[in-house]
């Protein structure tokens, strides 16, 4: 059986190699110094999708991302590695979304795509680290979800078997399709870019990107459907304005703090209650605990 696969991907700041200037004085991420990358676990999810496609010839992989128009970079990257096409969900009205508003917006886009058998996403993104968005999408679409997947296999009866990596072992579960699966970083790495696809799709652009090209290149893209990355807005996916972006986000960030560890040397305590009590008090006072 051929499958309609949706892969959810996010462009994130590369928080894995954070330097001194990674955070601005107000505590927000300094995106200018952190390169934007394909969220690592979304790449693991893409590899699972590509394996499903290898096993089920004729399957299609659509990559869906929500973010700034430049998130089209993620779509291109996925296409270079074997995805068929992609959609950038981008709109000023979607800005400032928390996980609730994000999962609502994405679920609306998925409804618009319509025909899907399996939705794969990374377990969590390295910027927010919530691991909430993809499970919430499953709830909103009212379909089953399987999290922490390392291996995803679909059989001919249309059931998906998932190997889950849990804290103390491995669990294998079977779920009906359609189904949402989140994939962990312990799943196989994504395959490399393919040379021919790289050459074929390197000029693929979204409408916002196309607008910045010279006229002859615009015409070049217009003449080739495979070079056109779709861009959808909030209205197009029929999203309720009250449930998206800042207005649709009940999560309010109270404060962001830059925590700097100042202690340089280890301190040796003797084996007595008095010293330990003194330390506990000190830690409570400086808000390390409590």
């Amino acid at each position: 059986m051929s499958l309609n696969i949706i892969v959810l991907a996010k462009q994130v700041p590369d928080t894995r190699n954070v330097g001194k200037d990674a955070m601005k004085e107000d505590g927000t991420i300094n995106r200018a110094v952190l390169p934007a990358i394909f969220n690592p676990e979304d790449l693991n999810a893409l590899e699972q999708a590509l394996r499903l496609k290898d096993a089920h010839p004729g399957s299609t992989i659509t990559v869906l991302t929500m973010g700034l128009p430049k998130s089209a970079e993620v779509i291109r990257e996925a296409i270079f590695r074997g995805a068929d096409c992609g959609i950038v969900l981008t709109d000023r009205a979607l800005g400032g979304a928390d996980t609730l508003a994000t999962s609502y917006s994405l679920s609306q886009a998925i409804r618009k795509i319509g025909n899907y058998d399996i939705i794969l996403g990374g377990r969590q993104a390295i910027d927010g680290d919530t691991a909430q968005v993809v499970p919430q999408i499953a709830e909103k679409l009212n379909i089953p979800q399987v999290t922490y997947a390392e291996d995803v296999v679909v059989n001919e009866e249309g059931k998906v078997t998932v190997r889950r990596r849990l804290e103390h072992g491995i669990e294998t579960v079977v779920a009906p399709l359609p189904c949402v699966v989140t994939v962990t970083g312990s799943a196989p790495d994504c395959r490399p870019r393919n040379a021919k696809r790289l050459m074929k799709y390197k000029y693929a652009v979204s409408p916002s990107e196309k607008a910045k090209l010279a006229e002859d290149m615009q015409a070049f893209v217009d003449a080739r459907a495979h070079l056109q990355i779709q861009e959808w807005g909030a209205a197009f996916v029929e999203a309720d304005p009250a449930q998206i972006g800042f207005p649709g986000s009940p999560t309010k960030v109270k404060n962001v703090e830059s925590v700097v560890f100042v202690a340089k040397d280890a301190r040796r305590l003797d084996d007595n209650d008095a010293q330990i009590e003194e330390l506990i008090k000190e830690l409570i006072v400086n808000h390390t605990i409590g």
Binding site: P192, N194, A195, M199
Partner: protein, 567 residues
């Protein structure tokens, strides 16, 4: 993410050589493929952009998969059981990554599923792969057997076999036998034509790199009763047909991931490739030239990693209160390693460009008759490629060995232990100056270009370039060194004794190589000041080498020859 292409600006410098425009235009022929293939380039800039992007993929896989696997491949090695050779498990992973990335059949035409890359960016990929794992370069690099199949096979054979190579099936060249190593004229493997016109092969091949490959090119004796090279033909053996088993694989010093097989042919069905009797004298010569360029690239890649390992250790290791690179004795070794690396790399790409030019013209000749001018050009480029290939392979592999040796020396006692990569490099490097013709045989191939003046003409053409004023002093110095070379050649020619010429051949070829590489670095430095350091170091080295050889040649009394030659 680490990337072995983008972290090395020298590669982009060589890729962007001015001669590439002509190469791309000959290879892409008005960019007509763009009508038919959606991945074909639209123009020169687009083609160069393609090469750069694909080399980034190579750099990514090499840094993050192949290099990471190199140690485990070396430890596990290839194995042999049930008549088959088996790769180390990480080698299988490496091959899978290369297949998924579409890096097989890179230089093959698009109509067979290839990328239609010129040899130059393909060789650059080989250089990068070898830096990641010198032994793996063999398995990946044997894809250039497809070049020979393309050149000499018929259209039906091309259409059946080349797409399979582009899909990732591996190849081997089954040439050597127990009694036919360097001397391939002695090949005995028997090819017998049956009544229905088909052929079967019987006999034994030995030292076959990747000998359990999917598609083999086999040198076999098709003309019963003959004893020399004119009785040999080239055959294609398809593993799917069966008939060849692996009797054993060699337990080697290095490149342990690359299985070196002893093959037994028992009525193995095979098909003739090209014309009978042309196997050795034409096809295998072409095959070997391609393979030698591949080994030259392998050598440069191995030199690159030796340089990087040596530099990193010398900066890190502290003795007597400072990093050892601060001691002149160590610092000089690093400078010389880098100079040899840069010199051999410049020679490698110069050679690759000439191979590109003549092969592109030869390929055009398959479609239409070349103009007299094109024919002349093709012949000239072919001659230069013939002259530079044994030089790049011979001297590049010697430098690779010297660099691997010095890399261990810089590591001191630690380098002798299995804990550092340098001991693996040292073992892997050792084969480069032996297989595909020893350095001594490269000298045999190169010496006629000393005596007939090919090198001298090339050197003169380099010298005709204007350089920036600050490089003029070096250029003048090279002109003086060229005179020493010319005088040495004249001296040897004047003795007029073939044995004396053979005896002096290595010295003369090295002198020519020192000059060619010095001039190439001069022109590199003229384009990019970053090469000035290596230019200075290399010219000092070249000057002392040339002077040393000149002194030996001029003061040597031919009457002393028996002292060396009779044992």
């Amino acid at each position: 993410m680490a990337n072995f292409f983008t972290d090395n600006p020298d590669l982009l410098h060589h890729l962007n050589h001015p001669m590439m425009r002509k190469i791309v235009e000959l290879k892409e022929r008005n960019f007509a493929d763009a009508e038919q293939f959606d991945y074909a380039p639209l123009n020169f800039e687009d083609a160069m952009d393609n090469y750069t992007r694909v080399l980034e993929v190579v750099g990514d896989i090499c840094a993050n998969i192949i290099a990471e696997n190199a140690e485990s491949v070396d430890h596990e090695g290839a194995s042999c059981s049930d008549g088959r050779a088996h790769y180390a498990s990480a080698t299988v992973e490496n091959l899978k990554a290369c297949r998924q990335a579409g890096l097989m059949g890179m230089a093959m035409p698009r109509r067979f599923g290839g990328l239609n890359f010129p040899i130059t960016p393909y060789i650059m990929a080989a250089d990068i792969v070898s830096r990641a794992d010198t032994g793996f370069e063999n398995l990946w690099g044997l894809q250039d057997c497809a070049e020979t199949l393309y050149e000499f096979g018929n259209e039906d054979q091309r259409a059946r076999f080349i797409p399979r190579v582009c899909e990732g099936e591996t190849m081997s060249m089954d040439l050597t036998e127990p009694d036919a190593g360097s001397d391939l004229q002695s090949v005995m493997l028997r090819a017998t034509q049956k009544e229905d016109g088909t052929w079967v092969l019987n006999g034994v091949k030995r030292f076959i790199t990747n000998g359990d490959s999917d598609i083999h090119l086999v040198l076999a004796r098709s003309e019963e009763g003959t004893k020399d090279g004119r009785g040999l033909s080239m055959f294609i053996y398809d593993k799917r047909n069966g008939g060849v088993t692996v009797r054993r694989i060699e337990n080697k010093m290095g490149i342990k991931g690359s299985p070196t097989c002893e093959l037994v042919y028992k009525n193995a069905p095979a098909e003739l490739c090209g014309s009978r009797r042309m196997g050795l004298i034409k096809y295998v010569m072409a095959l070997m030239n391609g393979a030698r360029l591949g080994i030259a690239a392998q050598s440069v890649g191995c030199s690159e990693i030796a340089y990087r390992e040596a530099l990193a250790y010398a900066k890190d290791r502290r003795q007597f209160g400072k990093a050892i690179i601060e001691f002149p004795a160590v610092a000089e070794m690093i400078a010389v390693i880098k100079a040899k690396l840069d010199a051999s790399r410049s020679l490698l790409y110069e050679c690759a460009r000439y191979v590109d030019l003549y092969k592109a013209l030869e390929d055009i000749a398959r479609e239409r008759t070349l103009t007299p001018e094109e024919r002349k050009e093709c012949k000239q480029y072919n001659r230069l490629a013939d002259a530079l290939t044994p030089m790049a392979k011979g001297l590049g592999s010697e430098y690779c060995n010297q660099n691997a040796y010095d890399c261990i020396q810089i590591h001191g006692g630690s380098g002798f232990m299995k804990d550092y990569a340098c001991e693996r490099l040292y073992r892997d490097a050792r084969i480069t100056s032996i297989y595909e013709g020893t350095t001594q045989l490269q000298v045999v191939a190169a010496i006629r270009h000393v005596t007939t003046g090919t090198y001298k003409a090339l050197i003169d053409s380099y010298a005709a370039n204007e350089v920036r004023p600050e490089l003029q002093a070096i250029k003048d110095r090279l002109a003086a060194l060229t005179e020493k070379y010319v005088a040495a050649v004249e001296h040897v020619n004047a003795v007029n004794d073939p044995t004396f010429l053979d005896f002096m051949a290595r010295r003369l070829v090295e002198m020519a190589g020192n000059l060619v590489m010095s001039y190439l670095l001069l022109l590199d430095a003229n384009r990019d000041a970053a090469f000035e350091k290596s230019l200075n170091v290399y010219v000092n080295l070249a000057a002392s080498e040339i002077t040393r050889h000149a002194e030996f040649i001029h003061t040597f009394d031919p009457a002393q020859l028996p002292t060396y030659l009779q044992h």
